[in-house]
């Protein structure tokens, strides 16, 4: 009996299949027509840097906690109930007013646990993007791939209008593109010889990639990648040159930069140039002030209301822009885009040794609020909950194990079967019992049809974090 190994058999059949399906042109197809034919949406990550206090928006607390010296609150107003279409409720401040017109378009996730063992900005941003506090592959570029080694569906994985200070190892097709950078790039592209596949110099250069790719080693494989990339570069360069640019501004004039960023993102989405965009939303600064949501000082914490109010207003403008931008298939950009709004963590209730009306706030990775909505995501829901809702509530053993002084609010255990907060009071912290950002990322993966093998796990070699099935339409 003659035996073939499975590996060699699969190799030969895979090669046969590859021979049939090899692309004849560049590595990807793009353009509005191609994108309209597929159901994969765009992805917009609205990042709010420096750790925004979620209790100033959709995870508010009654003033009784402030009166009892438990939680600082410089708004000085009682929050109101915000009820989801699924019957779950949360408390929301008046700062959410700008988002009310869109309440059916996004869902609120509260009590989202970030990197529970790390309280640094970078570590939690790493955890948000890669599932690992030390960084790695971000989930955002994966949304542009058909499979782990598949083609990119758009030439760029993402554009970023701000900087993500995270350790990302797969952002080689993510383009930093603030309005200033976009204008500079377009100007440069217009000033040099255009990349043209029928240009003799282009051909001379491309010849050398082809000539060097035939070998067996690492250099030849690199030359092959250069040939592929150079083959697709003319089309990408043309798309970038064709970007709709907003009017030029003084580089230090940041007042219109936000709207300019949105305009660029919308332009690139419509042209099919990028799959994803990362838009940074910073609070407006008062005159002679530097607005930072990292409110360690009492002075900064007192400005939380104004700062977070301006952030909420900008998020509302993003929703409005997406809904008002039509696509060629008769829908709006909102219908074609999954939107995620998140900061890297929330804030502590207070600091030790300070009076409740003279305290700043520190980092709190044990809870976070996330807004999510758009294409294929159910809006209008409230999911998850955080603890310390009343003066009398005592923290669980699991909470105190991570926060002995009870300075933080922590997400409650979450029942993924019922999609509701669990009533259990665990004595020990186990990540799988809580709503973690890993579940948010995996839900986005599922929406984009990314196979489970890529999903974030909650521990090394552990199972994937559960998908938040209630969010998927």
């Amino acid at each position: 009996m003659q035996k073939l190994s499975r590996r060699s058999l699969l190799k030969s059949t895979a090669a046969t299949a590859a021979a049939v399906s090899l692309p004849t042109g560049g590595l990807f197809s793009f353009g509005d027509t191609a994108l309209a034919a597929e159901d994969r949406p765009f992805f917009l990550f609205v990042t709010i840097p420096d750790g925004m206090d979620s209790s100033y928006l959709f995870d508010a607390r009654p003033l009784a906690l402030t009166a009892a010296g438990i939680k600082s609150n410089y708004l000085g107003e009682e929050p109101v109930i915000w009820e989801g279409r699924n019957g779950q409720k949360t408390l929301a401040t008046a700062l959410t007013a700008s988002l009310k017109p869109f309440r059916d378009d996004f869902s609120v996730l509260n009590g989202v646990v970030m990197a529970a063992s790390f309280d640094g900005h970078n570590q939690n941003l790493n955890f948000l993007l890669t599932g690992n506090p030390f960084g790695g592959d971000s989930f955002i570029p994966h949304l542009n791939k058909l499979d782990p080694r598949g083609e990119r569906r758009t030439p760029l994985d993402a554009v970023q209008t701000g900087r993500l200070f995270a350790e990302i190892s797969n952002d080689d097709a993510s383009l930093p593109l603030s309005p200033r950078e976009a204008r500079a790039l377009v100007t440069r592209l217009a000033a040099v010889d255009p990349l043209a596949t029928d240009d003799p110099v282009y051909l001379a250069i491309a010849n050398r990639f082809r000539a060097n790719e035939g070998g067996q080693g690492r250099f030849s494989k690199a030359a092959s990648l250069m040939r592929d990339g150079f083959g697709s570069a003319p089309r990408l360069a043309a798309m970038l040159r064709g970007m709709e640019l907003p009017p030029e501004r003084d580089p230090q004039d940041t007042s219109g930069a936000f709207d300019d960023s949105l305009a660029i993102v919308a332009s690139l989405f419509k042209a099919g140039t990028t799959r994803s965009a990362v838009v940074e939303v910073r609070p407006d600064a008062e005159p002679n002030q530097f607005a930072l949501l990292d409110t360690h000082s009492a002075d900064a914490a007192r400005r939380s209301g104004a700062m977070i109010g301006s952030v909420a207003a900008k998020v509302a403008r993003i929703f409005g822009m997406l809904k008002a931008t039509p696509t060629s298939d008769g829908r709006s950009l909102f219908d074609r885009t999954v939107i995620l709004v998140a900061s890297e963590f929330s804030r502590t209730m207070r600091q030790t040794s300070f009076k409740i009306d003279q305290t700043g706030t520190d980092h709190n990775p044990l809870t976070n609020s996330v807004l999510i909505g758009g294409a294929g995501i159910k809006g209008g829901l409230v999911l998850g909950e955080s603890d310390t809702q009343t003066v009398d509530e005592t923290p669980t053993g699991a909470h105190l194990a991570l926060d002995r002084s009870h300075l933080m609010i922590m997400g409650r255990p979450f029942d993924f079967a019922t999609m509701r907060p669990s009533l259990t009071r665990p004595n020990e912290y186990h990540a799988g019992e809580y709503l973690s950002f890993a579940s948010v990322a995996n839900t986005i993966y599922r929406r984009f049809g990314i196979e489970d093998g890529k999903h974030f796990t909650l521990e090394r070699n552990g199972p994937a974090a559960p998908v938040i099935s209630a969010l998927l339409a």
């Binding site: 003659q2 952002d171 383009l175 010889d193 050398r208 250099f219």
Partner: protein, 257 residues
């Protein structure tokens, strides 16, 4: 492509080997009865993902990286006593202040600290190739213009101070780049439509980084009946710029071996 050839060869080999297997026998013995061959697939403990040997980051050389290319060009193209003025980031509107970030970081950069330290963005894609094109064209255009049309060269302008993507002000205009006299002479020769300096341009950029056949191919492409010969023959700034840029875009220059 190599995988396809390999797999096809393997398939043909198996095809050739399949079927009746007749052992060699001495001529004075009757051959054995033919035996039906049954092919049985034996499962192996190898994940399907390893069917293809080439992963996205397995066994593929990286770019040299932005910093190394900058240093090479600085040492090979720029006048010795003016080397500090050369900042490759300027050709992507991202002058290096404290570290490589922004567009230059997409061309290969060592980044991170401790366990997160690594070389990033070292593999070519459409974006990095477009950016290398921009960068090399910027350098080549400036050098060619200085050699052949210095009256068209504009003085450097004040630069924005950009850190972490945020603008923190402006700094005075940098000193203009001073290219090596030898390079300028070679480019002037090319501007005159004379291909005699092609080899010198190649040697200046590439030095000993590429094999002889690569140099021969470059000369063939840009002279005689080569694909870009008409560009060189026409002379002018374009001829000088194209020859210099093409040398800088050669894989033996950009890829770390």
């Amino acid at each position: 492509m190599k995988t396809l050839i390999y797999a096809t060869t393997v398939s043909c080999a198996f095809a050739a080997g399949c079927g009746r297997k007749q052992p060699k026998t001495p001529t004075n013995e009757a051959p054995p009865e033919p035996v039906d061959v049954v092919v049985e697939v034996v499962p192996e403990e190898i994940p399907l993902a390893n069917v293809e040997a080439d992963g996205p980051n397995e066994g593929i050389a990286n770019f040299r990286g932005f910093a190394v290319v900058q240093d090479l060009l600085r040492s090979r193209l720029v006048a010795v006593d003016a080397a500090d003025a050369f900042d490759l980031g300027r050709y992507l509107d991202s002058p290096n202040l404290f570290r490589i970030e922004g567009l230059p970081a997409l061309l290969g950069v060592q980044t991170g600290d401790g366990v997160t330290s690594g070389f990033r963005n070292g593999k070519a894609n459409a974006l990095s190739m477009a950016l290398w094109h921009l960068t090399t064209q910027g350098v080549a255009e400036e050098a060619a213009a200085m050699a052949c049309a210095p009256e068209t060269v504009e003085a450097p302008e004040p630069e924005l101070i950009v850190i972490g993507g945020m603008v923190f002000g402006e700094r005075p205009a940098p000193e203009p780049v001073v290219y090596a006299d030898g390079l300028l002479d070679e480019l002037r020769t090319l501007c005159a439509g004379d291909t005699a300096a092609l080899g010198a341009v190649w040697d200046r950029v590439i030095s000993a980084d590429a094999p002889q056949e690569e140099r021969d191919a470059y000369l063939a492409d840009f002279s005689g009946g080569g694909v870009a010969a008409a560009v060189t023959a026409a002379g002018g700034v374009r001829a000088a710029r194209s020859a210099l840029a093409a040398a800088m875009m050669n894989p033996h220059f950009l890829i770390r071996k």
